[in-house]
Assembly symmetry: C2
Homo-oligomer: 311 residues x 2
């Protein structure tokens, strides 16, 4: 059932807030989730929001909190400057900052890349990667699908390089707001075995593929032929995920499966696209990873707590 409360762990992004009260071993004693992400917090009332959820969980006033995500951005509670690649993920706690608060609160840094690849940043995903390292996955390639998909290569527990691909945001903008919205069924759900999806992925792998030059054919097809409902969405999804995989091809040469950390809707599509690129995949639970990454930092930030707890 778990021991006494050790600390609280917060995954605090732009549009979502998740909080777990855990014991020293990470057993979850209580959990909260809300849409009080950064964009919903007004007048900098971060502490008020956090305390309301801690109170709901019955967390004592001396319980410490470790948070990760956009809460540490310039526009967040307090800026936690990016740690720069190559970054040892077991050292995130060393770059944590503490906002002014009644209880101990630490915010973990995001990562930035200046020299190991194109300019890039992440906030939140590094803590999931730290959770993977805490689970023993110190080497390999990780793919975190989403609004801004992240790819990262780990070696010896370090992020050697990473890349953001705006696949989810492009799917949403193009599918809902461009001329293609007239051809795309709003509620359609693409399946990985859909031959339209597979063909679009393969098309995007071709030498000479150009996303802007391929998109309008989706609209024209719906004017000139009778595509099945869902075909347009499947094709857009396949072109975008295919273009993503083609764009990170240098990550695919690493040995071992790609570790996929996405939603139950996206993981199968990425797994199929990666299979078509010759890679196997292994799915990890993103919520579990972020808890493990936060807990790993908490053990270092609150070192005396264990002795207190076990005394």
């Amino acid at each position: 059932m778990g021991g006494p409360a050790f600390c609280a762990l917060a995954d605090w992004g732009t549009s979502n807030f998740r909080l777990w009260l855990v014991d020293y071993d990470g057993n979850v004693l209580g959990e909260r989730e809300s849409d009080q992400g950064l964009s919903a917090v007004t007048d900098g009332r971060f502490e008020t929001v956090l305390e309301s959820h801690l109170t709901a969980l019955g967390a004592a006033g001396n319980i410490g909190v470790v948070a990760a995500g956009m809460v540490g951005a310039r526009s967040g509670w307090r800026e936690a400057a990016y740690a720069e690649t190559p970054t040892l993920l077991t050292d995130l706690h060393a770059h944590a900052v503490s906002p002014a608060a009644a209880r101990p609160v630490y915010i973990l840094p995001g990562l930035c890349q200046k020299t190991t690849g194109a300019f890039d940043v992440m906030r939140g995903e590094e803590t999931q990667l730290a959770g993977a390292v805490a689970s023993g996955l110190t080497d390999g390639v990780f793919c975190l699908p989403g609004t801004h998909a992240k790819w990262a290569e780990l070696f010896g527990g370090r992020v050697m390089r990473f890349q953001t691909v705006m696949t989810g945001e492009l799917f949403s903008l193009i599918g809902r707001q461009s001329i293609l919205r007239l051809s795309i069924d709003a509620g359609s759900h693409t399946l990985p075995d859909d031959p339209v999806f597979e063909a679009a992925v393969e098309e995007a792998f071709d030498d000479g593929f150009s996303l802007p030059a391929s998109l309008f054919s989706i609209r024209a097809a719906s004017l000139l032929s009778q595509p099945k409902p869902g075909d347009a969405a499947a094709r857009l999804s396949g072109l975008l995920i295919g273009a993503e995989v083609a764009g990170v091809r240098s990550y695919l040469s690493a040995a071992g499966p790609i570790h996929l950390v996405g939603s139950s809707a996206l993981n199968p599509l990425y797994a199929k696209a990666l299979l078509l690129a010759g890679k196997t995949t292994a799915v990890l639970d993103g919520g579990e990873l972020v808890r493990k990454g936060l807990l790993s930092a908490a053990h270092k930030l609150f070192p005396s707590s264990q002795s207190e707890v076990v005394s």
Copy 2:
């Protein structure tokens, strides 16, 4: 100064309406322009809109009208079914339709492509291409930059194949609504000699370039470095136009310059991108082309008018 009024020519698109009263030789006797495109015409009051502008020009009730553009779409005044490639551009009039109206009105068809390339459609640009043919440009490659850029290859006055590239729409969606909006200066105007633009075009020409994988670096650069104002817009513009040119590379092998039919803002950027791809360009005036294309059809649709005029 021009002879007596021969007919009126209308370029009637989704968001714009242009009308010219011309004599038999195409000399402009009067001109109207408004934002009464399709999306502003309510309850199908196309004839009312048209007549109000004809009245303003003092056009007699027996003056005929030839129109092109989205006014012939399914959602327009009356649908003019697409003519299919390869299409002889001097034959557009043969596919014209007449809506019910008090005076003679003809709407020219758009073009569709089913077998000479990927599914594609155009409405309005084919009349500009017909104008080029009427000017003696019967062969070569035409690039019409815009919201939906069109590329077309002409041979013997026929459109052999064409391709739509959603460059303008993507620039607007990504620049104004994606996360990149936070990095892009709203009013910035990219110049063709901007080294940031040139470098982005060259980047998009690279084998293995992937647009979704390259975009986020624009955001990251503005967080991690001090780009000059306008750099982000120049880079986005270069990546998109570069990706467009790379996507239509099969059009670039034709002999002769690429005929550019765009705005004064876009033409120089396309000319530079095409120069970097090894092609020269020749700029044509789009308004003049559409008038010539419409007039050429009018000469065939109103054959008796000349004799009336000259008698």
